[in-house]
């Protein structure tokens, strides 16, 4: 059972606004010069919404996602997730927060190659204190929802790209997170697989009322979202929206 009760007050489930970012600034120090990746981004995402962030390469999409999800720091601004200012949390608190309330899907899947699909999916549960038995049960159920009930015992190397990404989605969803972050989840997939994955994501989003924030280059992916946020040069492109 989740045991980090102290984190529960970090998250306000009653809030209708899931993500609120104000005047986000992120500057990378690349030795001789500085890169202003985010230059004052404002963003609001409501509960259960699925948004797609799009824009030219290098405009700061990934940076925005990383900052919002707390795996990267910001130089200036405010990030509220369910009304809680996560930029004020310590590294450990952030880890716990991610384990309990967030799910991640990456372009390159990033599954642990030495673990089976099921074990990969179990990891977030084990981190947040589930027993091995509960974790097994829950992860198998989640793998079934992504259509991989027969592949539990296989290692990532034995799965196709599409299958691996579905395992990654299962891993992201197994903890019943309130937000799922996905950076180009279909970037490595062919169009058929992209279609399947996006259908799965839209379905899950509808069923579970989870908030999805996707970064993508694909118009097809964008078209499935409730809303598209365009970025340009580290800012939300207001004209496009």
């Amino acid at each position: 059972m989740p045991n980090q009760a102290d984190n529960n007050d970090l998250f306000d489930n009653s809030s209708e606004v899931m993500v609120e970012a104000n005047n986000l600034h992120k500057t990378y120090d690349a030795g001789t010069f500085q890169v202003k990746a985010l230059r004052g981004v404002d963003l609001k995402v409501s509960k259960g919404e699925m948004i797609a962030v799009m824009g030219p390469s290098g405009c700061g999409k990934t940076t925005l996602l990383n900052c919002l999800s707390g795996i990267d720091s910001i130089n200036q601004g405010k990030i509220l997730i369910g009304n809680k200012p996560i930029h004020e949390l310590s590294d450990d608190q952030l880890s716990d927060f991610r384990a309990k309330f967030m799910g991640f899907v990456f372009q390159t899947y990033n599954l642990l190659p030495v673990l089976t699909a099921q074990e990969n999916v179990e990891l977030p549960l084990l981190i947040s204190g589930y027993s091995q038995k509960e974790a097994s049960l829950k992860s198998r159920k989640t793998l079934a929802t992504v259509g991989l009930e027969d592949w539990c015992g296989h290692k990532p190397a034995e799965l196709s790209g599409g299958q691996q990404q579905r395992v990654a989605i299962a891993r992201a969803l197994v903890n019943d997170p309130v937000i799922v972050w996905a950076d180009e989840p279909t970037g490595n997939l062919d169009s058929q697989n992209e279609e399947d994955i996006m259908n799965l994501i839209t379905k899950l989003n509808k069923e579970n009322k989870q908030t999805f924030i996707l970064v993508t280059h694909s118009d097809n992916v964008g078209s499935k979202a409730n809303r598209i946020v365009y970025m340009k040069d580290g800012l939300i492109d207001q004209k496009e929206n």
């Binding site: 990383n66 450990d92 799910g103 991640f104 990456f106 190659p113 990891l123 290692k155 190397a157």
Partner: protein, 1172 residues
């Protein structure tokens, strides 16, 4: 040192030079052909200097261990050698009477004139001198210091000139001629024990009388003044003749060869031959030739001598076999009268012994008997090559010390080689992108291998140089420990020595071993699918593709004309470039010469490749294995036997794979079944008790290398077994430790990663396994020595003091008691029992034994009160005579033709036992000896005394002494214990007792009695030992040696710990992105940290558990085979000792992965995830 593992070190050095040159040539050859590859390869080294440094460090450890063992061996050898040379000085050969004891050893003074005339005008001899040497008690009246066994020597003064000057401490030269009849010289050692100075009066006791001398000078060691650890009083021959009342007698003639102390050695053989030829009793020698001259005796002997399998069986030294061949040739060529050459050869006692041995081997029993009876009379005087003998002795000890260190060091050396492999695999992983690019720009796989070898040879060279230097330092530290081990037991001087030869052997063998490993790993790396390797998946070493038969045939064809191809290729490539013609020509010639050199190797390699598919079916290996193991049995070699069986097991494994493949078993299942079979069979074969196969093989001769083979095989096969069934281990681990809440997620990755890379994990586990394996065996076996301390009566027989005097000074029991009674410092009531014993030398053979040759067997005769009071036990006894140990002693006291024999006379399969000329009872040469064993028929032994000719005496052996009795001796020895009448019967005169085993009364301590006892009997030169203290001392020495070995083996742990560190560093680099993902899904930084630490810990613990298990198992086998001979041993696992070893290992393993784990925990997720 001249020998190592029984191989000549000079030859070894030359061979190594040869191999080194070949390797150097090959590398240079390839380098000349591909200078660009060299540039590409070597450029990496200075670019990443830190990494290069680490690599060199990892590669160097094997060399360090080799040099450390050689260095310590050299030091031991040189220390003994210097001591030996110092004590023999200029004397190269000595002549003495065949009777070595009591009065029989003296012979007329004028014998020296015969020797003079024999060696007259011989340019190889520059001096001959006669002397008497004896040992007597000496007292310095000024300081009251005594020495009970002072060596007193009187030399003929007018012959002193070629034997070096005698030089006083103040530098003045003192010729012996100048000594007045009441003056003596003391050498430095003697001066020290007596605390003497010039002008002191010393009393020399000669039994009934004493004589007083004035110390004229104290003289420096060297020459006639001897040295080493000899304490010497020096005088002239006439003085000593008068002193001990042996007018006109001498007991020794010494000969100095031309040249200094060591140069004289070159002539030793020739001078000895001249002397032996002329001193042999020709009448007896003729009788011997008459015995063997007859057909079919001579033809049979000839046939066996040229039989190769007989020669291989190692029963006789090759020099003896060669001499015997010559002897037979001489006899055949000179039918009527024997040649000079014959007399020369037959005069060598070793040859006669060899002859007797062969005669009895061929079952010419009566001939063997006659020759054995003649042999003691063969030589009128015995000629010994004293100096070369002393050096041989030094040589033997030095090389056995080195052998022990290299044997146990070879585990660490192997571990070091594994580390090299690991380093290279990881280096390849680090270079993966670069290699990918290289492939992309068109380099072939072969080129990649070459690049690695080029880079590797630079590391190997650096590693060999630094390793040799560091090894020398380590051996210095070990010598320090050795000094401690030796303690105050005796004041044997230790001279630290490094020889160019050993340094070269260490350097070149280190370089060669490293380079071979580098080459091998490069080859494997080139077969490695880089992507797979980086992910660390199970198929780390991807199966190689079998090239077609045709292609192989073609390569073989090409290799047959190798040099021509070289010419053609050179023409294509190089002459087109417009370079200096001369340089091209030189290049061309070099390449051509080298290619001719490599030609045969290439052809061999191609043939092997061609046959590989057939080999894969398994049956060729099975057959080869059967053949090899049969040879092992035939030539009585346990190592070869085991190798043969191992080859067959490998073949069986291959065959099993093949069969399962044919019946279409799934590949992964096939692999698992087959490798489980291989692992289990190997483990079982090497783990079974040592005598399991004896009924089939007979008792095989084992050498210490069987330990290395067995250890490596056991550890290797268990790792193979574990790694091929790692899923079982994984689920077992997860089910146990994986349940600990809070650790679950961390533990899961910590275990999954290592088990997913079976290859590198297996290597690392093997490293720890091997080292811990050896340490455990050592610790357990060292613990066995404690029986002596726990049950001291089994060693001492219940006696507190063992005192002895020289036979001439024998003290009767009455006199002994009376003196004690009269003394002020001792009371008779302090003594509970005083028993007496003595000993004589004899030669003996077992009736109805296999060997008919007489061998030395000492006889200890004891008095009734010894037989009544001793508490010595027996390991075997004849049930007809005795139910209890007491019964045996009673039987000895009642009957006069009975004896008990020491455990040293029981045949042993101890691989460290090297003495093959010891008397052994064939009746005990059976498998499965147990306590209740006694041979069916009686054991009768025929004894022939060495002194005083008389007919052989038969006695019956009724029990075998407890092995513990001799546990304080360095070597196993064969002797009998009888009552006095047996001894009297064979020597025809009453033997006197000169040894006293004393039991003190309850509250008396040995240390309170001994000093008074020695003073009381100073004029008899009585020496007394505190038995319990001797046991304690030997235990201390044992413990100190144990520490020394643990220190030495610790080097192996260093290698393992470094391997863990290298693995962790690599893991962090390889897994950056995954760590980023782990952080993203909620791993805290310290969970990542813990996960990496746990991973190292897990590998280390697996290795430790493996080593503990297998070590205990093997120690248990050793224990069982020892405890058959020694009763009352307890199998104790020295937990404290082991826990300390384990904790140290764990600590350092953790320490080495501490930093990498910290780095891993600091990985910044956003950063790590961004990079593909």
């Amino acid at each position: 040192m001249k020998k190592l593992f029984g191989l000549d070190t000079d030859l070894m050095a030359i061979y190594l030079l040869g191999i080194f040159t070949i390797f150097a040539f090959i590398i240079i050859f390839q380098a000349l052909r591909n200078p660009i590859l060299v540039k590409l390869a070597v450029r990496n080294i200075p670019k990443r200097i830190g990494q290069s440094f680490l690599i060199v460090f990892g590669l160097m450890l094997s060399t360090v261990i080799i040099e450390a063992s050689l260095g310590i061996g050299d030091t031991v050898y040189n220390s003994i050698k210097r001591t030996a040379l110092e004590s023999v000085g200029y004397i190269d050969e000595t002549i003495s009477s065949p009777q070595r004891f009591s009065d029989g050893r003296y012979f007329p003074e004028n014998t020296i004139e015969d020797i003079d005339s024999l060696l007259e005008n011989n340019p190889q001899v520059d001096g001959i001198i006669s002397r008497i040497s004896t040992n007597l008690p000496v007292l310095n009246t000024r300081t009251n210091r005594t020495e009970a066994r002072m060596i007193i020597r009187g030399y003929k003064p007018d012959r002193q000139s070629s034997f070096g000057d005698i030089i006083a401490l103040d530098g003045t030269i003192i010729p012996l001629v100048n000594l007045k009849s009441n003056e003596v010289l003391l050498n430095e050692n003697a001066g020290e024990v007596l605390d003497a100075k010039v002008g002191d009066n010393v009393e020399v006791y000669t039994g009934k009388d004493k004589s007083t001398f004035t110390v004229k000078q104290i003289v420096q060691h060297g020459g006639l003044a001897s040295g080493g650890d000899t304490k010497l009083v020096l005088m002239s021959l006439t003085q000593i003749q008068t002193l001990i009342n042996k007018p006109k007698s001498i007991d020794w003639i010494g000969i100095s060869n031309t040249g200094g102390i060591t140069e004289g050695l070159d002539y030793s053989k020739e001078v000895t031959n001249i002397l032996r030829t002329n001193l042999v009793d020709r009448e007896i020698a003729n009788q011997i030739s008459n015995i063997i001259k007859e057909n079919p005796v001579i033809t049979d002997i000839n046939n066996i001598l040229i039989d190769d399998s007989f020669k291989r069986s190692n029963k006789l030294q090759t020099t003896v076999i060669d001499d015997l061949k010559l002897i037979l040739k001489e006899i055949e060529q000179n039918k009527n009268s024997n040649s000079e050459k014959y007399f020369e050869l037959i005069a060598n006692q070793e040859n006669v012994n060899g002859l007797i041995w062969i005669l009895s081997y061929l079952e010419y029993t009566s001939e063997a008997d006659s020759v054995s009876l003649l042999s003691p009379q063969l030589n009128k005087l015995i000629v010994d090559e004293t100096k070369s003998g002393a050096l041989k002795f030094a040589e033997n000890i030095g090389s056995s010390v080195t052998t022990i260190f290299t044997i146990f060091g070879s585990f660490s050396i192997i571990v070091g080689l594994l580390l090299i492999f690991l380093v290279m695999v990881l280096l390849a992983a680090a270079r993966s992108t670069e290699m990918g690019m290289a492939r992309a720009i068109g380099l072939k796989r072969r080129h990649l291998v070459q690049m690695f070898i080029f880079e590797g040879s630079v590391y190997a060279l650096l590693a060999a140089v630094i390793g040799t230097a560091l090894g020398a330092l380590v051996s210095l530290a070990l010598v320090g420990l050795l000094k401690q081990a030796q303690g105050d037991i005796d004041d044997f001087p230790i001279y630290v020595t490094f020889t160019i030869k050993s340094l070269w052997i260490a350097f070149s063998s280190g370089f060669i071993l490293t380079l071979i490993t580098v080459g091998f790993s490069s080859y494997r790396i080139s077969k490695l699918n880089i992507v797979v390797a980086i992910r660390g998946l199970s198929e780390e070493l991807v199966k190689k593709q079998n090239p077609q038969f045709k292609a192989n045939l073609k390569s073989l064809g090409i290799s047959l004309i190798g040099p021509i191809i070289t010419i053609l290729k050179f023409k294509d490539n190089k002459f087109t470039i417009n370079h200096n013609i001369l340089i091209n020509l030189i290049k061309f010639v070099t390449l051509f010469v080298i290619s001719i050199f490599l030609w045969p190797f290439n052809i061999l390699k191609q043939i092997f490749k061609l046959l590989a598919p057939i080999n894969k079916q398994g049956w060729p290996l099975i057959l080869i294995g059967i053949y090899v193991h049969r040879i092992g049995i035939n030539i009585d070699n346990g190592t070869l036997f085991s190798i043969g069986v191992s080859i067959s097991i490998l073949g069986l494994g291959l065959a099993l794979r093949r069969i399962l493949e044919l019946i279409k078993i799934q590949r992964s299942i096939n692999h698992r079944i087959s490798s489980t079979f291989e692992g289990l069979t190997f483990l079982l074969f090497y783990g079974l008790p040592f005598d399991t196969f004896e009924s089939y093989t007979g008792e095989l001769n084992t050498t210490p290398d069987i330990f290395v083979l067995g250890g490596v095989a056991m550890v290797g096969s268990s790792v193979w077994l574990i790694m091929n069934n790692s899923d079982l281990l994984l689920s077992a681990s997860n089910k146990t430790f994986g349940r600990i809440s809070g650790l679950q997620a961390t533990f899961k990755t910590a275990v999954a990663y290592p088990l997913a890379s079976p290859f590198r994990t297996g290597l690392t586990i093997s490293m720890f396994g091997l080292v811990i394996f050896t340490l455990v065996i050592f610790a357990i076996l060292n613990g066995l020595n404690n029986v002596a301390a726990e049950q001291p009566t089994r060693v001492t027989g219940g006696y507190d003091i063992n005192a002895s005097v020289r036979k001439e000074f024998a003290i009767s029991l009455d006199e002994f008691k009376q003196k004690i009674n009269e003394s002020n410092s001792l009371e008779l009531s302090q003594f509970e029992v005083i028993t007496q014993s003595g000993s004589i030398a004899s030669i003996a053979r077992e009736k109805s034994g296999k060997e008919q040759q007489f061998k030395p067997l000492r006889i200890r005769y004891v008095d009734k009160s010894y037989l009544n009071t001793t508490e010595i036990k027996f390991s075997y006894k004849n049930p007809k005579y005795a139910k209890t140990d007491k019964d045996v002693w009673e039987a000895l006291s009642k009957e006069d033709n009975l004896a008990v024999i020491s455990s040293g006379a029981i045949p042993t399969d101890d691989p460290f036992d090297s003495n093959s000329n010891r008397f052994e009872l064939a009746a005990f040469d059976v498998e499965g000896l147990n306590k209740d064993f006694w041979p069916e028929s009686n054991i009768s032994v025929e004894l022939l005394p060495i002194q005083g000719a008389s007919s052989p005496e038969n006695i019956e052996i009724i029990a075998v002494l407890d092995q513990l009795v001799d546990s304080l001796e360095w070597e196993r020895s064969a002797y009998l214990i009888t009552n006095q009448s047996v001894a009297n019967n064979i020597t025809n005169n009453l033997e006197e007792y000169n040894n006293y085993n004393i039991k003190l009364s309850q509250n008396t301590k040995a240390e309170d009695v001994i000093p008074f006892l020695e003073t009381l009997f100073i004029e008899r030169g009585l020496k007394a030992n505190d038995n319990l203290k001797e046991i304690e001392k030997s235990l201390q020495t044992g413990n100190a040696f144990n520490k020394l070995f643990q220190g030495f083996m610790g080097l192996g742990l260093v290698v393992g710990v470094i391997a863990i560190g290298v693995l962790s560093i690599r893991a962090v680099v390889e897994r950056r992105k995954i760590v980023g993902a782990m952080r993203a899904i909620g791993y805290r930084a310290n969970m990542v940290y813990l996960s990496f630490l746990l991973e190292s810990l897990y590998i280390t613990i697996l290795g430790i558990m493996l080593g503990l298990g297998l070590g205990t198992w093997t120690a248990w086998n050793i224990f069982n085979s020892i405890s058959k001979e020694v009763e009352g041993l307890r199998f104790d696992i020295p937990w404290i000792n082991l826990i300390i070893i384990i904790l140290i290992t764990l600590f350092f393993a953790l320490l080495s992965s501490f930093w990498p784990a910290k780095q891993a925990s600091k990985i910044y997720p956003a950063e790590a995830l961004r990079h593909e």
